[in-house]
């Protein structure tokens, strides 16, 4: 009796190990069949990574996007070292055209535009990455637990997500930011507050189908703790769509911050943001005669959002080859 029980446990454990690490792979490459081949079992994550990377590099625009994004991140990190002038220092030349000293000219109060452009890239990246980090973590946890526990908890969580998703995004964010007072932290928190429900839904739906699979039942039969099943066995297999969603999320958070700052409800002067730099260009004289005040900021914003979106598209194709 003892022996057969042990055998059962062994079999269950074997099923658990091979499936939990290989399930994503198996779902994607059906031809490999259920029994993941040996090299995959010994180093499943390395093999999976190589496969995904292999598919990613075939997407030319995605690779260009990744290069540009990496470059922007480097600029953002090194921003204080790269700015030729202080982004806040006021000089005597107002709205001066580009020159040897000020490559992109100066703004209406005489600050160096290039320095502000570089400082703003840091702000944009901080907003993009912190917002996404915050809401992906929260949304994933909520979706995971809601789907795994089910029942009334799931029901309540879904109604709450309904509620948050029925708010018109930009409008409610404007209202909340104006109520709480515009600052970098408020923007990040408010953007995250209204972005997590989509992630929670996404994670919930993949967990709902995953938890029906045999290897999770095996895990439960073995008496594994809930967190161990959640984080070691369920989450790794739901990661693909989360990563894709996060990448697009960074781009849209950067865009939202710029929109808020453009409307005067985002990053407040003297701090620089591409959005508030563009907002200064709303006068007709600036538009016609001082293109250095608005073209560079808009172009940087476009390049950043575009590059990150291309990376997201590449990741989507690479992580889900069925499409």
């Amino acid at each position: 009796m003892r022996v057969s029980e042990l055998e059962l446990q062994d079999a269950a454990a074997g099923l658990l190990e091979s499936s939990s690490s290989g399930a994503l792979l198996r779902q994607q490459t059906d031809s490999r069949g259920t029994g993941a081949s040996n090299d995959i079992e010994t180093s499943p994550s390395a093999g999976l990574f190589r496969q995904v990377a292999g598919r990613f590099v075939k997407h030319r625009l995605a690779v260009i996007g990744l290069v540009v994004t990496s470059l922007l991140i480097v600029i953002g990190i090194l921003a204080p070292l790269l700015t030729p002038h202080s982004p806040y220092a006021v000089t005597a030349s107002f709205s001066a055209a580009p020159s040897g000293d000020h490559w992109l000219g100066t703004d209406q109060v005489g600050r160096d535009v290039l320095s502000r452009l570089i400082a703003a890239s840091r702000v944009s990246l901080i907003v993009g990455f912190s917002t996404v980090g915050l809401y992906i973590t929260f949304g994933t946890l909520v979706g995971l637990i809601s789907a795994y526990v089910g029942g009334w908890l799931d029901m309540i969580v879904m109604r709450v997500t309904d509620m948050f998703m029925a708010f018109p995004f930009l409008m409610v964010i404007l209202v909340v930011v104006s109520a709480l007072g515009a600052s970098l932290n408020t923007i990040i928190i408010v953007l995250a507050l209204f972005s997590w429900p989509a992630v929670a839904r996404l994670v919930r739906s993949s967990i709902l189908s995953l938890k029906q699979l045999d290897y999770i039942k095996a895990g439960r039969a073995l008496g594994y703790s809930a967190p161990r099943i959640w984080f070691r066995h369920l989450l790794p297999n739901a990661l693909g769509p989360i990563i894709v969603n996060a990448t697009f999320g960074i781009a849209s958070a950067i865009m939202s911050e710029a929109g808020l700052s453009f409307l005067g409800m985002g990053v407040q002067p003297p701090a620089a943001s591409w959005g508030n730099m563009l907002s200064d260009a709303q006068s007709l004289t600036v538009l016609t005669d001082q293109p250095w005040l608005w073209v560079p900021a808009g172009t940087m914003l476009l390049i950043t959002v575009l590059a990150i979106n291309f990376v997201g598209d590449g990741l989507r194709d690479a992580l889900d080859p069925k499409r």
Binding site: P168, A251, A258, L287, A297, L302
Partner: protein
């Protein structure tokens, strides 16, 4: 179908109630007070207090919310804090311009996106397809305010073809032609975003249909390729495309805030910004609620249209 719709409508009641509670809490979080924003600082405090009393700002949160809710149930949206006009009337005045702008943008967007998406799918993985994918992403990624400023620069300041903003020429004759000239730029900005999103969607839907076996049969029978694409495939691909138009409506509503601000278009978006700046809570509450109803209604309509377009989808 009917039980499904009834259930969705019933679920939407607590969701909408929740939205009003959340909106109310947000409004009350604001440190400023509409009375302080309105009145000049030399006004005696007793008068300010009387004013607050009149607007109901002195009672507790729950009383204020209850007051607002019971008004709503009696069909009263209240009066604006800043203009003292009935909120319903203010929104009614602004909804026309916003609808005109949003629907024009939707029409332009679809008229461009549908042919390009189909062409992209037919030339799958050819140079044209790759170019379109790239352009679609540019359309998705270009900030509407940057595009708006760029278009004003090009079409107004350089070639003087179109007006910079507003809905009619000041002191002009007005008329449809004048409104259309004012409509072109803001509608184009909104349309670019729609084109960017929909090209990819239409392409995917068309590719899906083009891979179906009945098309292989049609080709095997010797049906001309143009007939296969434009008669057999297009019909089946277009239906799911048309159903998702509903999902664009909330996006257009949000986008209109930025676009109306740039082009001074006198619609809901501009009203929203004005109400935010003057802390006009009754107007903001009504705008939030109206927008939430629009979002939920368009989601429901989308789901219903889906099941008509594809009878395999069944709702319980």
């Amino acid at each position: 179908m009917l039980p499904y719709i009834t259930r969705r409508l019933l679920i939407s009641i607590p969701v909408l109630l929740g939205i009003t509670v959340i909106s109310f809490i947000i409004m009350k979080l604001a440190p400023g007070n509409p009375v302080d924003m309105l009145i000049d600082p030399n006004t005696p405090p007793e008068l300010l207090d009387a004013k607050k009393e009149m607007l109901g700002l002195n009672s507790s949160f729950i009383v204020q919310y209850w007051h607002w809710l019971s008004g709503l149930l009696h069909g009263q949206l209240g009066y604006s804090f800043s203009s003292y006009a009935p909120v319903a009337g203010m929104i009614g005045e602004r909804i026309g311009p916003t609808l005109l702008l949003a629907l024009t943008a939707l029409l332009i967007g679809l008229l461009i996106a549908i042919p390009l998406g189909i062409a992209s799918a037919v030339r799958h993985n050819k140079a044209f397809d790759h170019t379109m994918t790239g352009l679609a992403f540019v359309g998705l990624s270009i900030p509407p305010f940057f595009l708006g400023l760029g278009l004003i620069y090009l079409f107004t300041l350089k070639v003087h073809w179109l007006p910079t903003g507003g809905m009619s020429t000041l002191g002009g004759e007005g008329g449809i032609g004048d409104t259309l000239r004012h409509l072109i730029l803001p509608a184009s900005v909104l349309a670019v975003g729609i084109v960017g999103k929909k090209i990819r969607y239409i392409r995917a839907s068309m590719l899906d249909v083009l891979g179906q076996e009945y098309l292989r049969t049609a080709r095997a029978k010797g049906v001309k390729e143009s007939l296969v694409v434009y008669k057999h495939a297009l019909r089946n691909a277009l239906l799911p495309i048309l159903t998702v138009i509903g999902t664009e409506i909330p996006v257009l509503l949000g986008g209109s805030i930025l676009v109306e601000q740039i082009f001074q278009w006198p619609g809901i978006g501009q009203l929203t910004m004005q109400s935010i700046l003057s802390r006009d809570y009754p107007t903001l509450m009504a705008l939030n609620l109206a927008a939430a109803i629009v979002v939920m209604a368009s989601n429901l309509v989308t789901d219903i249209l889906y099941s008509f377009a594809d009878p395999r989808i069944q709702y319980r």
